[in-house]
Symmetry: C2
C-alpha cells in the first residue's frame, strides 16, 4: 500500500493506492459508514457490504439523474443519516459522481470518500472533486466541486470489471497521454490491454501514474480557468455523441478525440501524423474511431455545453502528441468544423 496526500485549496485528500477495501472503516474516522453502490457491483461483491448500511442504485449512466438522487436522499432520511454519517461511494464513475453530489447537498454537505472500482473512475471520475448528474441527457449539467476525504484503490475490483469497461477506461488514459505525456503515449504503444489485465504491478503503476497526472492538472487550476480545461480534450464532441448514440463514456470520448484531432489539424493547418497515431493507439485498445452520428443533433447538444459562453466555446486542440491547448472558437466556425468532419 502506498499513501499520498493530495492538497487542494479546501481540503486534503488521503489517497491510498494498492490498498484493501476493509481500510474504509479506519478512513472514516469513527463516523457512521453508509455505502452507496450500484446493483451490478453489489451482486458481484455482496460479501464486502455485509453488516453495513448500503444504498443500492440502479447501474448505468442513464440512472445518473435526479430520480436516483431523490431515491438516495429518501433512503438517507429513512435510515436516520445525520451530519456524523460518512458516505462511501463504491463503484464506477456513475456511482462516485452521484454519491459525491448527494453527500455535498445532504444536510448542506456531509463527509464522504470514494472506492473507485472501474479504470475510468480510478483515473478520472473520482479524482478532482467534480461531481454531479445529467439532466435530460445533458451531461453533468448539475453538480458541485467538492473533494472527498479519501480515495481508496483496491485493484481486486478490476478482476470483475467487464472487458468493455476496461476499454472505456483506457480512453481517459490515452487522453492523459495525448495532452500531457508523450512518454506515456509511447509506453502504451508498446503494450496491449491484456498486459495490464494480467499483471497486477503494471496496472497498479499505470493507474497511479494517471491519477498523479490528473491531480497535478487539477491542483494547479481547481476552478478550470486554464490548464484544467485541457482535460476536456475529446469531450465536447464526445459528450454530444454519448448523448445521441448512448455509447459508453470512453467509447464516445475515443471518437471525440479523433474528431478533435482532425479539427486541430484544420486549425493549425499542419497535416502531420497526429491523427494517425491517435487513431492507431485507440484502436489498439479496442476503442472506436469512426462514427456516422447525426451532426445537427450533436450540434444542438453542444450548444448547451458548459464550456460554451457567449458566442464562443473553449475547444481543446492537440498541438502535438503530449501537448494540448485551449482555443476559443466562434460557434459558427465550430459548426463548420463539425459538419466537415470525416471520421472515417
Amino acid at each position: 500500500m502506498e499513501k499520498e496526500l493530495f492538497q487542494f485549496s479546501q481540503k486534503q485528500v488521503q489517497v491510498l493506492f494498492d490498498a484493501t477495501f476493509n481500510l474504509v472503516n479506519e478512513l472514516s474516522g469513527g463516523k457512521k459508514l453508509i455505502f452507496i453502490t450500484d446493483q451490478n457491483l453489489f451482486n458481484l461483491h455482496e460479501e464486502k457490504f455485509k453488516g453495513y448500511q448500503t444504498i443500492i442504485i440502479p447501474a448505468g449512466e442513464a440512472n445518473k439523474n435526479q430520480a436516483t438522487v431523490n431515491q438516495v436522499i429518501n433512503e438517507l432520511i429513512a435510515i436516520g443519516a445525520d451530519r456524523k454519517s460518512f458516505i462511501v461511494g463504491v463503484g464506477g464513475g456513475v456511482v462516485t459522481d452521484l454519491a459525491g453530489f448527494v453527500a455535498s447537498i445532504f444536510m448542506r454537505g456531509i463527509s464522504f470518500g470514494f472506492v473507485p472500482t472501474s479504470i475510468l473512475a480510478m483515473v478520472d471520475a473520482a479524482v478532482g472533486g467534480k461531481n454531479g448528474i445529467d439532466v435530460g441527457g445533458f451531461k453533468n449539467m448539475v453538480g458541485v466541486i467538492r473533494h472527498p476525504e479519501f480515495l481508496l484503490y483496491d485493484y481486486q475490483f478490476l478482476k470483475t470489471l467487464p472487458e468493455e469497461e476496461w476499454r472505456s477506461g483506457f480512453a481517459e488514459i490515452i487522453k492523459h497521454a495525448c495532452i500531457k505525456d508523450r512518454g506515456l503515449f509511447t509506453f502504451l504503444q508498446n503494450k496491449k490491454l491484456s498486459d495490464f489485465q494480467n499483471e497486477h504491478k503494471l496496472i497498479a503503476d499505470l493507474v497511479k501514474q494517471n491519477v498523479l497526472i490528473k491531480y497535478k492538472v487539477v491542483s494547479e487550476d481547481e476552478n478550470e480557468n486554464g490548464e484544467r480545461q485541457l482535460l476536456n480534450f475529446g469531450h465536447t464532441i464526445g459528450h454530444a455523441i454519448e448523448h445521441e448514440c448512448t455509447l459508453m463514456h470512453g467509447y464516445a470520448i475515443s471518437i471525440g478525440m479523433v474528431a478533435a484531432t482532425e479539427i486541430s489539424e484544420k486549425i493549425d493547418g499542419i497535416n502531420d501524423n497526429r491523427i494517425v497515431l491517435v487513431k492507431e493507439l485507440l484502436k489498439k485498445y479496442g476503442l472506436p474511431t469512426t462514427s456516422n452520428f447525426d451532426r445537427e443533433k450533436a450540434w444542438n447538444i453542444m450548444l448547451a455545453d458548459k464550456k460554451k459562453s457567449g458566442g464562443y466555446l473553449n475547444f481543446i486542440v492537440l498541438d502535438e502528441i503530449g501537448k494540448a491547448s485551449v482555443k476559443q472558437l466562434a460557434l459558427p466556425k465550430l459548426h463548420t468544423y463539425l459538419t466537415e468532419l470525416s471520421l472515417s
Copy 2:
C-alpha cells in the same frame, strides 16, 4: 444608499442598504441577468422585470422543493443559460433559498445575487450563504453553503408585503434580540409593528441592524460549529410545528421560541420572567405563542433534524434576555421536555 462589504472565507459580498432595484444591472458586472421570482411578486411588480429573462416559480414554502428546482433548471437550459449568466433571486426566503441553491449546482455553480423582498428574507434567509430546499416536508434537508455576489435592499417592496408576512419576519428580529441584543429587545418593547410599517427610516435602520447581527454571528462561525448555532433558537421545535401545522415560518418559530424558553427554565431551574417577556413581545407583534400540536408527530420530525447527531441534539437555550447558549441534550431528555411543554 449605504454600502457595506461582508467578508466571508470564500467570498466578499457587496451589501447595498436602502438602494433601488435597478442597480442590479450594475451589480451583475455585465453578465447576462436571469431573474428568479415567484408568481405573487411578479404579479405585484411586473414592470420591474420587463425586458429581462425571468423565471417565475409558484409561491409558498410548499414549493421550495425538488420539483421547482427541476422546473428552474429546465428553463435555464431552455433559455441557453451558461457560465456567464447571472441569477438574481427576487423575493422572500423561498425564492432566495431556492435561487441560491439552483445557482450553486447549475453547471457546478454560476454567479448569483439576491434582492430580498420580505422582512424575513431581508434579515435572515438571504444572509449567511445557507440555501436549499425541503424534502418531503423536512426543512432545508438538501442544500449547500455558498454566498451571493450581492445583497440589494430596496424597501419599496415592503409596500406590497402582506400583514402576516410582516409579522412572520418580526419573529426572526425578536429572535436576534433574544439571543444577542437586550437593547434591541427593549427597543422593540417600546415600539409597535405599525411604527415600522409607517416610517421608512425606522424599518430601514431595523433591517440594517438585524442584518449586521446575523452577519457578525455567521462570519465568526461560517460552518456552524459554535456561535452560529444560536441562530437556531426556537427552530428545532419550530420546524417540527411548521411541518405538522403548515404554519408560516415566523409563526412556527414564534411558538418554537416560547417552547425553547420554557425548556430553558426547566434546564437551569430558574423561574424568572424570561418566558413572560418573550411571550409578551411576540404577542405585541401579532405572533402566536400557544399551540396544541401533536407532540409525537413533532418528535418524529425532530429526529430527522440536522442538528441531531448520534444520540444527542444541540438545543439552544435562552440564558437570559439577550444571551443564549448551546446545550447538548440527550434525545430521551428532550422527548420528555417536549411532552411536558405547557405552551398555554
